[in-house]
């Protein structure tokens, strides 16, 4: 379970407040969507929750570990063990093949079975391909496989369908959703697309660094049933 209490974060020597006292709780295995307009602080919240950035004040508990009091080395180790990332721009290593890009994640958890995940995202015939030889949707699937190959307990996704067209976006969401159901990891997704919220268990709506709305979804929809 992830518990955040009273998180504050500002930039430019405190002149720009990005997070203003955020508190939230995410249960194990949940799919949480964070929405909000540009500049609402949703990406910063994700960075702080995942240990990519430090909050100015407040507390984040990841199970029994308090990540806000960890040293840089402990945070690196925490990210290595606990979390995976999927970004809008994929950030694959351009000179490495699909196989080696996914292996980047797999080696962190000594996962020798990582090719199974490549198979699960439907890219086993592209093992030797380089990222520039793949379509946007395929690159995003590689990035998902890379994140999942390290067997994370929590998967953070920052606008994973932001650079994709509707059809590809739905396919990618469907892959993520199936893998989530199958592997039971916790998933926290930041997105502009309000329709994706219909797929989640919880929706957090942010504005000016605060949570303005917090709702639970009793009957999550599939990627092909939501609007776009």
């Amino acid at each position: 379970m992830i518990i955040a209490e009273n998180l504050y974060k500002s930039y430019k020597n405190g002149t720009v407040n990005v997070l203003n006292g955020i508190s939230l709780a995410v249960n194990d295995g949940e799919f949480v969507v964070i929405t909000g307009a540009s500049g609402s602080g949703k990406s910063t919240l994700m960075s702080v929750l995942s240990g990519l950035e430090r909050a100015d004040s407040g507390k984040i508990m990841f199970g029994n570990s308090e990540i806000t009091s960890m040293t840089e080395k402990q945070l690196t180790d925490f990210r290595r063990r606990e979390v995976g990332f999927v970004f809008q721009q994929y950030y694959l290593l351009p000179h490495l093949s699909v196989d080696k890009n996914v292996r980047m994640g797999a080696d962190l958890s000594s996962n020798g079975d990582y090719r199974k995940i490549i198979e699960e995202v439907g890219l086993s015939d592209k093992l030797k391909s380089k990222p520039y030889e793949l379509s946007g949707g395929e690159q995003q699937r590689v990035s998902i496989a890379r994140a999942l190959a390290k067997n994370p307990h929590v998967l953070f996704l920052d606008e994973p369908t932001g650079a994709l067209d509707e059809k590809t976006g739905r396919n990618v969401l469907d892959y993520i959703s199936k893998l989530h159901t199958e592997k039971k990891f916790t998933m926290i997704m930041v997105t502009h697309n309000l329709n994706i919220a219909d797929m989640s268990d919880k929706v957090i709506n942010m504005n000016s660094g605060t949570i303005v709305n917090y709702s639970e979804n009793a009957s999550p929809k599939s990627a092909y049933a939501i609007g776009w």
Binding site: S47, L52, R79, R80, P94, K100, R103, M104, D107, Y132
Partner: protein, 379 residues
Amino acid sequence: MVISVKDGFKLIGVAVLTFCAVFVCTFFINFIIDAGSIKDLITEETTAIYNAQMASAKLCSVLAGGILSLIAVIMIFFYIRLYIDNHKCRLGILKAMGYSNIRIASGFLVFGLSVLAGTVIGFGAGFMVMPTVYEGLTIEGLPEIKITFHASLVFFLILLPTAVFSLLSWLYGAYSLRRPVLEMLRDKTEIVKRVKQGKAEKDRTFVKEMFFKNVSVKKAIAFLIAFAGFCVAAMVQMAVSMAELAPTVMAVIIFAIGAVLAFTTLFMAITSLINANVKNISIMKTFGYSIKECFMSVFAVYHIFAFAGFAVGTVYQYVLLSLVIKLFYKDVGVIPEYGFNVGAFFAVLAVFVVLYEAIMALCLLKMRKISIKEIMTEN
């Protein structure tokens, strides 16, 4: 257009190389021309030593000028490739709008400005140290050689190299721009090098794969790092080894050039390597790779090149010094004994190891400072 005049002055490595080449060539060539004026005054007894002096001056100017210019050409090509990789989206837009490769590459003519700066300063510095060099080169028994300014050297050592380098930059720029427009436009942020397909991939861990792939896509950087090792071994070691065989001023000049070249090249190569890997390091850190693992995957492999360059440089300086001694003393009489200077070898190697590892330690610090949020705030 895209390449500004300011960019033309940013090629510090090229400026330093051309400075060194012109600096050495200025006093040696000037000496060769001036020494011609005393040819009629040479007696039979001093002919041998005069010829030896002229031959070694010619050899030094050809070697220094030739090798340094060649390296400067390689470095300018490296800069052009790097510039195109870093600005491929903007250059791609120009191509998409219909500008020809030759037209876009004409902007690279300004890269000659760095050569101009290096040659002008090198020429001036060469003249400034000329009295000391002449004093060191003049051998007892030979008539005094007076310093004369030769205007033709301005053309051959400043104007001609600047024009040639500008032209080469233009042509190589046009050649390097021969890439599909879409490839340049689509891949805005990554430096993608096409790796030969069809080769079976080895079953290496990710860190090992990065270790090897880094070199295969960044050969120019590997070359520059090897060259830095070569400079230290060849020039600094040679300067120390020749202390008893040549005028001190020559040893000091060779030592200084070697040290400056090695440092500039190494600094440039390492900076380029870090810049080219910021995103890779950033994403590795994001996923939880330690600084040590990031370092291993990006920098560790270059140790091999640095020390291979050092080994080649050691052999080169020994062979060259042996040749020069034979050439210089062949008609003079007794050839002084010259053996491999083991003490100089270990002393220079120790200094090189310490300096190289210090630079690597700075890289580690720089890597620590790479923010893992950089990749998320981009776009």
